[in-house]
């Protein structure tokens, strides 16, 4: 098996194993797996409305996945996408509500505000890692909860007067698209999907085709070698977290300017940031992989809502399947080992 095939084999086998385990769980709990997965498929792609919802769900997943993947390539684990997404969401909505500008200025400004907020939230762990060698995983987890409480505080006490939600953003800052809504039978699909695809192309270009991207990847492979080669490791670490945070922040803008049109008090996390880890891992931390994995997870999430209705299977089954997929991808050592064993036997 060539190396290219092996790269594809791990995610594909992981997904298949995850779905297989899901089928077993459905069987054991007295449900029909075929009916369950059929309902899942219908709920994700059954008609144009569901397809639109899947694409809409895919949009923030792409951004969250790109954020995690980008940091991963520089050898950093950004588990703080959830928090960066929240501050980005807040900043975009704030700009969207507070200003009165023509659309060509207002919309980009609101998206950039989201990116900037996410970047600032990503800068903190990047700086602490570069300067003080503090592990980014713990800092980003702590910043997630800080972001949750801080954004709730801002919504209730700063942007509104004790209300549980902000106003809806002005039309000039909205990503909503009547064209896409008509096309998909009035789903909540919005223009953000185009931004997400552009972002994926930008990430690919930045990492693979620029000097900066080369340095970032070099630092991810071997910090010491990069240092001896004259690269500024600390600067690259901070930059990677800032860019990663910016991606996550725009993911928040998608929620604020597109899907919901406002922001509300969150009692817990949306889960998009954590799902982003799964998306990045499954996508092999590449731009194309992230887009494909985001499509899969978007379909799983949206399709799962149809499972209780059509087949009586609780939609949480999909959470279990996603957890197992992450588990299998993380244990890729086992899969590649098994594959190599299998190959050896064939060779004999």
């Amino acid at each position: 098996m060539s190396k290219k095939w092996a790269v594809l084999a791990v995610p594909v086998i992981s997904v298949l194993l995850g779905l297989l385990a899901g089928a077993v769980i459905m069987l054991v709990s007295g449900n029909n797996p075929a009916a369950g997965y059929m309902a899942l498929w219908n709920g994700a792609f059954g008609d144009s409305f569901y397809a639109g919802e899947t694409l809409r769900q895919m949009t923030p997943y792409i951004f969250a996945g790109l954020a995690v993947a980008f940091a991963f390539r520089t050898g950093l684990f950004n588990i703080g996408v959830e928090g960066q997404l929240l501050v980005g969401w807040l900043a975009s909505v704030w700009v969207g509500v507070a200003f009165e500008l023509p659309k060509v200025i207002h919309l980009p400004l609101a998206v950039l505000a989201g990116a900037a907020a996410g970047a600032v939230w990503g800068f903190i762990p990047g700086f602490l890692k570069a300067r003080l060698r503090v592990h980014e995983v713990i800092v980003t987890i702590m910043l997630n909860y800080t972001a949750l409480h801080v954004t709730n505080h801002f919504i209730r006490n700063v942007i509104s007067d004790g209300s549980d939600a902000t106003d809806v953003v002005k039309e000039s800052a909205s990503l909503r698209s009547p064209f896409l809504e008509n096309l998909t039978d009035f789903s909540s699909l919005h223009n953000g999907i185009f931004l997400a695809v552009i972002a994926a192309i930008i990430m690919w270009f930045l990492l693979e085709k620029t000097t900066l991207g080369y340095e970032l990847r070099a630092v991810g492979y071997n910090q010491h070698a990069s240092e001896y080669a004259g690269m500024n490791v600390n600067r690259n670490i901070i930059l990677s977290m800032v860019i990663s945070g910016a991606f996550a922040g725009i993911g928040g803008s998608m929620q604020g300017l597109g899907t919901f049109g406002n922001m509300f008090i969150n009692s817990g996390f949306s889960g998009i940031g954590f799902d982003g880890i799964a998306v990045a891992l499954l996508g092999g931390n590449t731009a194309v992989g992230v887009v494909l994995a985001a499509l899969l997870f978007g379909a799983l999430k949206v399709g799962s809502l149809n499972m209780p209705v059509e087949s009586g299977v609780p939609n949480e089954l999909v959470e279990i399947v996603i957890a197992l997929i992450i588990f299998f991808v993380a244990s890729s050592y086992m899969i590649t080992w098994l594959l190599s064993r299998f190959k050896k036997k064939e060779a004999k």
């Binding site: 769980i25 713990i138 987890i141 009692s267 949480e316 089954l317 588990f327 993380a330 244990s331």
Partner: protein, 319 residues
């Protein structure tokens, strides 16, 4: 309210909120001291809370007032079993331990909510009848002032949290097993050379962290939330993780940090009824545990260093 009432109210509610965190943070200490990062504490608490509530609802007629205590044992077992998933992935399959921990969190939430829907046909369980209540400790609560502040209206699991914290300290620092466990987390190759079974020691440590994580979740569910839904455990596991780091990976430090975080949590709830604190926005108290942890890691509040080999799978023969 007079000062004594206020202080005893704060102490009592701080310890109440801290108890689940103490158990779970101790679990984190065992796992990380052996070199296995455990982001899955949240998931272990979730599975513990779920198991305890289901056990409690199912067997309350059989066991009566003993039910919550037996539910703790069931929850510990569930947490221990789930943690073995994490153990197998991060020890045998050499998975990224952080990723595996994230998977544990997903799995616990998905699995428990899935089962709640199967068992009860709705999104959350009923409230439990038999729970841990706060009552005065006999004799000690009769001591003037001190008794009122520290020994009145204390839930029994709180006492156990203190006992287990001291037992953990003794096991980790005063027994051969503890020495092996710590050596495996600091320098697995050296430990292996000395004949310590690295994989086995790590499995045991991860299993203990599962027991304690499940225990923490069960105590939370049976004393604070009293039912199980998707919102029962939202971040307590991560706060326990923070307590473990703020306590510098030491059992007693983790206990102290957990009490401090419980204090911050209870202040954010009862603070509005206390004259001195009513003007402080709750957000400062809510984010205090997390911000303090970051500051502690950054070295502003004493240096906090993780065990050297934590997060790294041990591969025999590699340097």
């Amino acid at each position: 309210m007079d000062a004594l009432t206020i202080i005893s109210l704060i102490v009592s509610s701080s310890l109440f909120a801290a108890t689940p965190l103490i158990f779970t943070a101790l679990g984190g200490v065992f796992s990380e001291k052996s070199g296995v990062v455990n982001i899955g504490l949240e998931g272990l608490m979730i599975i513990g809370a779920f198991t305890a509530i289901v056990f409690n609802l199912t067997f309350v007629d059989t066991f009566g007032s003993m039910t919550p205590w037996l539910a703790l044992l069931a929850a510990m077992l569930a947490g221990g079993l789930l943690s073995l998933f994490h153990g197998v992935a991060s020890i045998a399959f050499r998975a990224d331990q952080v990723v595996s921990g994230v998977a544990i969190n997903f799995l616990a939430l998905g699995l428990s909510l899935f089962l709640v829907k199967l068992l009860y046909d709705k999104g959350q369980t009923d409230m439990i009848d038999s729970r841990f209540i706060r009552k005065d400790i006999p004799f000690l609560s009769d001591i003037p002032v001190i008794g009122d502040i520290f020994f009145s209206s204390i839930a029994r699991p709180t006492i156990w949290a203190f006992i287990i914290a001291f037992v953990s300290w003794f096991v980790l620092y005063k027994t051969p097993f503890g020495l092996r466990l710590r050596s495996v987390g600091e320098h697995p190759m050296a430990a292996d050379t000395m004949g310590v079974n690295v994989a086995k020691t790590r499995y045991i440590a991860v299993f203990i962290s599962g027991l304690l994580g499940g225990l923490g979740g069960a105590v939370y569910a049976q004393s604070i939330s009293l039912d199980f839904s998707h919102a029962t455990i939202t971040g307590q596991g991560f706060m326990a993780l923070a307590a473990m780091i703020f306590g510098k990976w030491h059992p007693l430090g983790a206990m102290g940090a957990a009490i401090f975080f419980g204090f911050a949590q209870s202040l954010s709830i009862v603070g509005s009824s206390i004259p001195f604190l009513e003007n402080v926005p709750a957000v400062y108290l809510l984010i205090a545990p997390y911000v303090l942890t970051i500051l502690a890691l950054a070295g502003f509040i004493g240096r906090a260093d993780a065990p050297k080999a934590s997060g790294m799978p041990y591969i025999k023969g590699s340097r």
